[in-house]
């Protein structure tokens, strides 16, 4: 009896209300009424909860209660339907509580100029959730911007992270970057971070900040829980800004903006290979803008440098497509800079050397990779490793009609793919036709001279592999200019002869034949360009030859299939590392043995079905040859 399970309306309240209505109530009547009122209220509350449950809500609303009243033939209570909480006031004298009910000035309301906006339209939006291995207990998906409101925790996180990254403490920055890279709950913050990063343009004078922002990009890109979606475009444009723009910071020659450009270029390639599939046509857009910068003589050399490293980072195909055709035109300008020994030109000349070094590194890899890819395709076709990695790669190499796939290893395919898009992509590409490797070498040799040749003689792995490829080119394609240029190359590069003995199969290649008269344009062009340099190279080859012989036994042909993957992955680092620190002419040494990369080849398995089918048809086309 003493315990009160429910709120109760006391008999005093009932009597007061009766008095308010002008009725005098006896004590017993009031008590009975009070009890009955309580019971009816409870009953109505219970039935109103049913309306709440069916409305799939947790909160009982006034409307629910009114419905319950209406269904029990009781008049609904009006005036309490507002969504906001009603202020409940107490009067000090006497225990009286009441809901505050302010007067509303209707005239003012009606004549108000600020017309309230209606609610946003009800709509349906989709997001996808998936399970990871352990069962996903975290909320997923981004809350659409329409209703986006960051929770306090997220906001705090955002502030802490940005402060740490852009602040002074390098240790704090490292921690922040690491968290940014691994945090799975920051999807909602992505737009904010992207916005911060897009601020590169406003801090172009501050190399340090730029660097930090680039690191931030890297962390975001590497975070496996983030779906970058269309934000990739924004990130790429920020990165491109760092690669290509003259940057206020570069006015001071003491500022090492070169490293920033290198890093940004590396980042660009990383974004592209991992997230390039999110935005269609990204590859072309990047390539076009790089080309534009490169072909613009008004731009400062550091921009050109950026374009070159950018192309280099995008892979040898990009170099072949954009840099190589531009080289003759560009060379003249560069040559002029380099040949100017005046004091006033010293700074520019130093920059020119940087560009020179960058181009050299780029073309070096171009030659190596091209040679490698040719040897791969040859092996793939010869069926030496039918199910191996080589096979898969070479299939992709051969497959036309393939849009740039996201796999890092499909580098090789891209050139051909973009070639196919020539029609649609724009006039810039139309004049481009693949130049056979020997012709390319000759042309490049005409620019770089021995500094190019030197780099080939000392590479650990490639010195042995690349030379044998031209013969396979002849094997597989049998293009008329092939043998002709082959001969030229073999004469220039003595390594070839040394390695030809490795595989007896290649001995029957037409390379041993006397050069037939060249039939096609490219062939003759390459020959003419190479003929002038023949004398010089002959002299060089004698010096180089012994070095090559030392390195050749290190290679193990059976491991070849793994080597390709490893090479390409490793190659990027290998190319960049000496490049980043200084542009010495010392040959690039593969610091990391290629085999350590061999396990990083998951991409091979991701070859889509349509690709296979294409390769098959393409392959069959090639068979009769």
């Amino acid at each position: 009896m003493t315990e009160r399970r429910f709120a109760e309306v006391s008999r005093e309240s009932v009597r007061l209300m009766a008095e308010g209505a002008g009725v005098e109530l006896g004590d017993d009547v009031a008590a009975l009424l009070a009890e009955d009122v309580c019971y009816r209220l409870r009953e109505a509350t219970q039935s109103s909860s049913q309306f709440m449950r069916h409305a799939k809500r947790r909160k009982l609303t006034v409307e629910d209660f009114n419905r319950a009243l209406r269904w029990s033939n009781v008049e609904a209570i009006c005036g309490y339907g507002a969504q906001d909480a009603l202020p409940f006031r107490s009067v000090k004298e006497g225990e009286l509580f009441f809901v505050e009910d302010r007067d509303v000035n209707l005239v003012e309301l009606a004549l108000a100029t600020n017309i309230p906006k209606g609610c946003a339209e009800t709509m349906v939006r989709v997001n996808v959730s998936y399970l990871d291995g352990k069962g996903n207990l975290e909320p997923q998906g981004t809350v659409p911007t329409a209703v986006q409101s960051l929770s306090d925790d997220l906001l705090k996180y955002y502030q802490q992270i940005t402060r740490a990254i852009l602040g002074e403490d390098p240790h704090l920055m490292k921690v922040a970057l690491l968290d940014l890279q691994s945090n799975s709950k920051i999807a909602a913050l992505l737009p904010y971070f992207v916005y911060v990063i897009s601020g590169v343009k406003s801090v172009s004078h501050d190399l340090e900040q730029l660097n930090r922002l680039m690191h931030m990009v890297k962390s975001l890109v590497q975070n496996p829980y983030l779906y970058l979606g269309s934000y990739v475009r924004s990130l790429v444009s920020s990165v491109m800004y760092c690669i290509l723009e003259p940057l206020a910071a570069s006015i001071n020659p003491l500022n090492d903006h070169w490293t920033l450009r290198d890093y940004a270029a590396l980042l660009l390639s990383h974004i592209f290979w991992t997230h390039g599939d999110l935005v269609s046509g990204l590859y072309h857009q990047i390539l076009l803008s790089l080309q534009k910068v490169l072909s613009d003589p008004v731009r400062p050399l550091c921009s050109h440098y950026g374009a070159v490293v950018g192309l280099h980072a995008l892979g040898w195909k990009a170099v072949e497509r954009v840099l190589f055709p531009h080289l003759p035109a560009y060379w003249a300008n560069l040559q002029a800079v380099l040949d100017d020994y005046s004091v006033s030109n010293a700074q520019v000349k130093a920059d020119g050397h940087k560009v020179y070094g960058a181009i050299l590194v780029a073309v070096e890899r171009l030659l190596k990779m091209k040679a490698l890819s040719l040897s791969q395709s040859a092996e793939g076709q010869s069926g030496a490793h039918p199910g191996s990695v080589v096979g898969a790669v070479s299939y992709r190499v051969n497959s036309p009609g393939l849009s740039p796939p996201p796999e890092p290893l499909s580098e090789a395919a891209l050139g051909i793919a973009s070639h196919l898009q020539v029609g649609g992509a724009g006039c810039h590409w139309e004049e481009w036709t693949p130049v056979p490797l020997p012709a390319m070498y000759c042309e490049l040799y005409s620019f770089f001279g021995d500094s190019l040749a030197v780099r080939f003689s000392t590479g650990t792995g490639f010195g042995t592999h690349s030379p044998c490829t031209p013969s396979q080119l002849g094997d597989s394609r049998k293009e008329p200019p092939g043998p002709a240029s082959n001969l030229d190359t073999t004469r220039k590069m003595p390594q070839l002869t040394a390695n030809l003995n490795i595989s007896p199969r290649q001995d029957g290649s037409p390379r041993t034949d006397p050069p037939p008269p060249s039939l096609s344009g490219p062939g003759s062009r390459s020959r003419s360009s190479s003929s002038c340099s023949r004398q010089r190279s002959a002299g060089l080859s004698r010096e180089v030859f012994p070095k090559a012989r030392f390195t050749s036994p290190q290679t193990t042909p059976p491991a070849f299939s793994f080597l390709i993957g490893g090479r390409q992955m490793g190659q990027r680092c290998q190319g960049r590392r000496p490049f980043q620190t200084m542009f010495a002419t010392t040959p690039p040494v593969s610091a990391i043995p290629p085999r350590t990369y061999a396990h990083k080849l998951p991409v091979i398995g991701r070859v889509g079905k349509p690709v296979r089918r294409w390769t098959c048809s393409h392959y069959s086309l090639h068979l009769p040859l």
Partner: protein
């Protein structure tokens, strides 16, 4: 069958057994007997339900007698004559015995409107399910007024002992039960709750208010925690006047609380009560309890707990003995030729396919008649239209691309979030092909969105339709008004929150049920309302189309579910028997059965043909808010406010699994297309996936279990839980598997 035994309780138990079936079939009889599924859709005119009109069973007769008795009492002699003539009863059939059963029968019809008419104090008092028993036109009016007087119902409480002794009696029984052997204690403890409630109500009825309060306070703590909700309602009831019009009380009073007790335990109890001369309790047991006695081992506490919790105790074993044809109907064979054509078309596109042999095998499989399936025309079903056939072909094609789900191959979830749904999203449905999504809102609107790039278009106006070339091949395209194309359409018509929504299988219609007591049929070609089905006079909580279209079921606050046909403005069947609101309704995949979940915490399965209740499933501890049939029709899953999913074997009428994990009401359940995975969506903002294959495979289906209905549930929820998807403050109120087994979920963002 409850065993009859010697001793003092025998006679009473016998009468129980005898009268119970009639009470059980009560509501259905007036509405369904002598009626066929009057509408045979399309041109298929052969109704398989003719035999219904014949053979009035003894129970029916008793009910009729009860009705006659009532009519006579109210001096409606004309109606008496008509009814007697129609039913073919002899003049002298109104004997006292019939009178007796009238009390039970009409009391069960779950209606209490004061004879004085319109007592405002009877909150949410309901009409009986018989108000629209249209076919029996002459008697209809009379039957509709067949409302039992509450005083009749309650009069059973008038017998009273010394109010001060109630406590003693109860305590005495409690002491006894606590001292019996462990194996019996659990079983006998079941008696506590109904006994407690009835004793309390007796005290209240006889105006012993303070004794009642004291009694309640002393013993309410002993009751099982899952009765908490009912106890709270009970505790508010302290006056005889309040008993009038209190639903909970009436539910309790009008239906006997069913207990299952082993023979040994029962005898123990009986002996004790006899020894003590404890007539008060014994009377209550006789009057208000139905004890279902079985031979064999007493059940354990966990076994009892698994099955109890409903408003009226467990289901009688008899209630679940009827044969249920749970198999699937044979698919029509029109697919094959058309499909071949289609494949040829694909071949022309240059896609070599070797699917033909596989297709054939699929076809032959469906040709085999499932032994558990009902006959093809048990329920007349609409004939397939050409568009339906095309859709079937689409379905087959999609099905070949379906991903086989399993523990190692879980589906991704596509979540449709309703944004800016400030008005309150109350119901969602998706078409089978996942092309349209519809939402019912608390502001009475129904909104339809297209979730494919195809926009929603209306049909042109009549004037414009006259202008188009009706002979052209693309006439179906030409009738659409391109100007009206939009991503979503809003449909106005209801005057209360829309609680249930369902697309027709052919995507031409949409059903919505609302608080305003109507079910509306909307055309998705014109986006207008076609029909408002009025029958439920109270909020309609749920509605669903039959998987074959044409029929639909609705259930609501008036405690009856109704079966409708779209072209009839009155219901074809009225399923009455639930003791509280029907909260959700589902059609069996073969369209021959309807499952309803209710606030009385039971699930009932109704035969569409006869209108009878063929299964009662008890075990939930809260109102049931979601139901799902497995695609093979064998199993039923149910989810309730208690956050548990229970799995039921329809054929055996057994509970076969319990899935614990959710922390709030489960508003949606769905099996994957092949039935391997059960997805449950809840108010706790999660979607959980359960290994349905394993849950059903691990069944122990030995004869004993099947015969006694005693299940041993292993607590393997954690093993069966395959995954949990968490949303961002979005309660999951609908789930749907696409034809390729991608899981779609929907809910409104709730900041």
């Amino acid at each position: 069958m409850a065993a009859v035994q010697g001793g003092m309780g025998d006679a009473d138990i016998k009468t129980d057994i005898k009268t119970e079936p009639s009470a059980d079939g009560f509501g259905n009889n007036n509405a369904n007997d002598g009626r066929v599924l009057s509408a045979s859709p399309g041109s298929s005119s052969s109704t398989g339900s003719n035999k219904q009109t014949a053979a009035v069973t003894p129970e029916d007769q008793q009910t009729l007698l009860a009705v006659l008795q009532f009519l006579k009492k109210n001096k409606l002699s004309e109606s008496v004559e008509i009814l007697r003539r129609e039913a073919g009863l002899p003049e002298n059939s109104l004997d006292p015995k019939a009178n007796e059963s009238a009390g039970a029968g009409s009391g069960g019809a779950a209606g209490i409107v004061d004879l004085e008419g319109g007592d405002a104090s009877s909150l949410l008092s309901r009409v009986t399910g018989s108000s629209s028993a249209g076919a029996q036109a002459p008697t209809k009016a009379a039957v509709a007024e067949d409302q039992p007087d509450v005083s009749v119902v309650l009069s059973a409480y008038s017998q009273q002992g010394d109010p001060t002794l109630y406590k003693v009696y109860y305590r005495d029984l409690k002491k006894f039960i606590e001292t019996v052997l462990d194996c019996h204690r659990a079983e006998l403890s079941q008696v506590f709750y109904p006994l407690f409630v009835h004793m309390y109500l007796e005290l209240v009825y006889n105006n012993h208010e303070s004794e009642a309060k004291a009694f309640f306070e002393k013993f309410s703590g002993d009751q099982e925690c899952y009765y908490e909700e009912d106890l709270r309602i009970l505790s508010g009831l302290t006056k005889k006047e309040h008993m009038r019009g209190n639903e909970t009380l009436l539910d309790f009073r009008t239906s006997k609380f069913v207990l299952r007790i082993s023979r040994d335990s029962y005898q123990l109890l009986k002996r004790h009560l006899q020894e003590r001369q404890n007539n008060q309790i014994w009377n209550i047991i006789q009057e208000h309890l139905y004890i279902d006695i079985f031979d064999g081992m007493p059940r354990s506490k966990s076994q009892i707990d698994a099955m109890s919790g409903s408003l009226a105790g467990e289901a009688k074993r008899e209630a679940n003995k009827t044969k249920v044809y749970y198999g699937l109907l044979k698919e029509p064979e029109i697919e094959l030729p058309l499909d071949d054509e289609d494949e040829e078309a694909e071949n022309e596109e240059g896609k070599p396919k070797k699917k033909k042999p596989k297709k054939d095998s699929v076809g032959s499989k469906s040709k085999k008649q499932d032994p558990n399936a009902p006959s093809q025309n048990r329920i007349p079903l609409p004939e397939l239209k050409d568009s339906d056939k095309l859709d079937k072909i689409m379905y087959m094609k999609e099905a070949t691309k379906r991903i086989r789900l399993g523990p190692d191959n879980l589906p991704s979830v596509c979540f449709y979030t309703f944004l800016n749904a400030y008005q309150g999203l109350t119901a969602v449905d998706l078409t089978d092909d996942s092309s349209l999504i519809a939402g019912g809102f608390a502001d009475s609107t129904v909104r339809v969105w297209s979730v494919t790039p195809k926009k929603l278009r209306k049909v042109k106006s009549a004037a414009d339709l006259n202008l188009i070339d009706k002979e052209s091949d693309d006439v179906l395209e030409r009738i659409m008004d391109e100007k009206t194309a939009s991503e979503s359409k809003i449909m106005y018509g209801h005057s209360g929150p829309v609680y249930g929504i369902s697309f027709s299988p052919d995507r031409n219609y949409l059903l919505s049920s609302s608080e305003d007591g109507t079910v509306r049929l909307w055309s998705l070609l014109t986006f207008t309302c076609l029909v408002a089905y009025k029958g439920h006079n109270y909020p309609v909580w749920d509605t669903q189309f039959s998987p074959y279209g044409y029929y639909f079921v609705s259930g609501g606050h008036d405690r009856v579910a109704r079966l409708w046909a779209t072209d009839h403005y009155q219901p074809l069947r009225i399923f009455s028997g639930h003791l509280a609101d029907i909260t959700c309704t589902r059609f069996h995949p073969n369209s021959n059965y309807v499952a309803t979940g209710s606030s009385d915490r039971t699930i009932r399965l109704w035969d569409v043909l006869s209108g009878n209740c063929v299964r009662i499933f008890t075990g939930h501890k809260g109102p049931i808010h979601s139901l799902a049939f497995s695609p093979n029709g064998k199993f039923l899953a149910s989810g309730a406010t208690d956050g548990r999913v229970l799995l039921w074997d329809i054929g055996h009428g057994l509970m076969v699994g319990e899935l614990k994990g959710h922390t709030d009401t489960i508003y949606s359940l769905r099996f994957s297309r092949d039935g391997e995975i059960l997805a449950s969506g809840s108010m706790d903002n999660t979607v959980r996936l359960w290994d349905a294959m394993k849950a059903f495979d691990d069944l122990e289906t030995d004869d004993f279990t099947a015969a006694t209905g005693h299940i041993h549930l292993q607590d393997n929820s954690q093993e069966l839980l395959l995954g949990t998807y968490t949303t961002k403050s979005t309660p999951v109120i609908h789930l749907h598997f696409t034809r390729r087994n991608l899981l779609l979920a929907a809910g409104a963002f709730n900041p």
